[in-house]
Amino acid sequence: MASLDDLKKRISSVKSTQKITKAMKMVAASKLRRAQESAEKGRPYSEKMNNIILNLSNNVSDKENSPKLLVGSGEDKIHLCIVMTSDRGLCGGFNTNIIKKAKSYFQKILNEGKTLKIITVGSKGYDQLKRTYKDNIIEKISFKESKYINFFDADKVGKIIIGRFEKKEFDVCTIFYNQFKNVITQIPQEQQIIPLKTSKSDKNSSEDNYDFEPEEDEILSNLLPKNISTQIFKAMLENSASEQGSRMSAMDNATRNAGEMVDKLTIQYNRSRQAAITKELIEIISGAESL
């Protein structure tokens, strides 16, 4: 059994850990509010953008000559995956969930005999993937310096992707990120951005007759690169809200666990102190009896 001194030391160390986790929880909670707000404010833009593109692509008559970003390169050999994670740890299952989702997708791609390329955004994703998929990672991007998520950063990632697509380095591009549902639930998502998947059924869009100025193709070829940046930006916003939410609940759990541990250790400490006193008493009594 640990001595009284050791127990005392452990109690105080757990207590100071608890203080840290509590502080981290508070910080995450205040950051969460801001992140959640900007994620919600950012949604209309990407939704509108998606809608417009959907309408446009339904109106494009000449599918074969439409921009490559929309219909793809016609092949399905090289897959590029953008794995978006956080730059900091201690946020529960946040990064692990994305990685798990991404890894199962990677496995599927590799089993089908296709080539896999990975770009990681955020350093934690790189740390976790480099062991298994070192050769597949072609680029790692991290925005540790920027304090807030801004469109400029997302645009940078978008331009990298488009640049690589134009050099014919890949055929299909998928991004992985966590969608923020609420503080407790974040859903890992995979979203294909090149070629664009028009996932929604075109129920109501076929009836709309739009005027276009200039021609559809020209608008599309201008809009699609922007859409990619927008989708990335949306993913980044959702991710940051998810990260803070996940960290908050993880830290909340940690604080509670630390509290339980302190209770347990205190009981153990009191018991062993009592045991020591009893032992001393017995020694004195039995010593007195033997006289």
Binding site: I52, N55, F212, E213, I219
Partner: protein
């Protein structure tokens, strides 16, 4: 029935401006300025750098500077999506000057496409007129 239509200006970070009833909006469309009134035909177009003018009533006019964007008009609802927009009254002159010098540098690049050249020239024109005021 009111005479106006709904206007939304959205940038990636937030809804920049939301008005339930405006009389007319003039947008710098790619092929020239375009005024949009109520019951305009559904249209999708994209913007070149320029000024968006919003008329909320006959006497009231607001102007915004946009660098790029796309507009959609449908069912009397005009949506303007743009990544860069400033209120001309509140805009910082220094920002304008910075982007003007940058645009002037860009326009000297001999390898840009005609379309880009056109857009940059437009931008320079608008920025110059704004910085003069």
């Amino acid at each position: 029935m009111s005479e106006g239509f709904k206007l939304e200006i959205i940038n990636p970070e937030k809804s920049f401006l939301l008005k339930d009833s405006v009389l007319e909006v003039v947008v710098p469309a790619f092929e020239g300025d375009m005024g949009i009134l109520k019951d305009h035909i559904s249209i999708i177009s994209f913007l070149k750098p320029g000024l968006v003018k919003v008329f909320t009533s006959n006497s009231n006019e607001e102007t915004y500077y946009v660098e790029d964007g796309i507009i959609e008009f449908k069912n009397n609802c005009l949506s303007i999506l743009t990544s860069n927009i400033f209120d001309t009254k509140k805009i910082d002159k220094n920002i304008l000057k910075d982007s003007l010098t940058k645009a002037e540098q860009d326009s000297k690049d001999p390898e840009i496409s005609d379309q880009k050249k056109y857009l940059i020239d437009q931008k320079i024109d608008v920025l110059k007129s704004l910085t003069l005021n």
